[in-house]
């Protein structure tokens, strides 16, 4: 079975990338791939809970959409990127899993495909 890691390093809404990256993850999961999403850099803002983009700026809420990868896919949040931005685990959506460098290295090595969007 093929596998995929989607790396998102842009903040949501300012760019379409976060949304589009999640769509790729959802599609590949629906097709039976072993896919996960990794939020790095400003991408970690996508895991901030209580976003309400639909009701405010009329964009699909990324924090809502990201639940669609659960339970088959995991939402990994890069620990260093998170702390650099003064954010805490409690600030994140429930499905978020923190990941450190060493674990990330193991994870990425286990993937057939890795795309940074």
């Amino acid at each position: 079975m093929s596998s995929l890691l989607v790396i998102i390093d842009k903040a949501p809404y300012g760019h379409e990338n976060a949304l589009s990256g999640i769509y790729i993850a959802i599609a590949s999961l629906d097709r039976g791939m072993d896919s996960d999403v990794l939020l790095m850099g400003d991408g970690v803002y996508a895991a901030q809970k209580n976003q309400s983009a639909d009701k405010t700026i009329g964009y699909p809420s990324v924090s809502e959409l990201i639940y669609s990868i659960f339970p088959n896919g995991t939402l990994f949040v890069h620990l260093d990127s998170l702390t650099q931005r003064g954010m805490k685990y409690e600030d994140l959506v429930e499905i978020a899993e923190l990941i450190d460098g060493k674990t990330l290295h193991e994870l990425s090595k286990s993937k057939k495909h890795i795309i940074k969007i």
Partner: protein, 110 residues
């Protein structure tokens, strides 16, 4: 311990462009663990300039095989003597394509 693999990075961003930091933080993970090859294309070739130095980038370059696109260098007025040591300047994409398709276990572009 996981097996050593050959990872290929394609970098098209200059050091101040969005995505460069992610590249540094991500490629870090592979240093001293795996074999690393890097292809610098487009604005990525600015990373090859002697005059630019970033400690993380130097550490990465030291433990990698770095290829730079000659046409992208010349297009930006960067002469061969202006780039860092041990950089492989290439004119045709052949080697890069074959590396990606045959030699790299994984390829990631930033």
């Amino acid at each position: 311990m996981a097996i050593k693999m050959h990872i290929g990075f394609i970098l098209t961003k200059s050091p101040s462009q969005q995505g460069f930091r992610t590249f540094i933080d991500f490629s870090k993970l592979y240093i001293n663990n795996d074999r690393i090859s890097i292809y610098l294309l487009g604005n990525g070739v600015y990373c090859a300039r002697k005059s630019y130095s970033d400690p993380d980038l130097e550490t990465l370059f030291k433990s990698s095989k770095v290829h730079v696109s000659g046409s992208d260098l010349k297009a930006r007025g960067i002469e061969d003597e202006m780039i860092k040591e041990d950089m492989i300047v290439f004119s045709e994409y052949d080697d890069m394509i074959i590396d990606v398709m045959e030699n790299f276990n994984q390829v990631i572009s930033f």
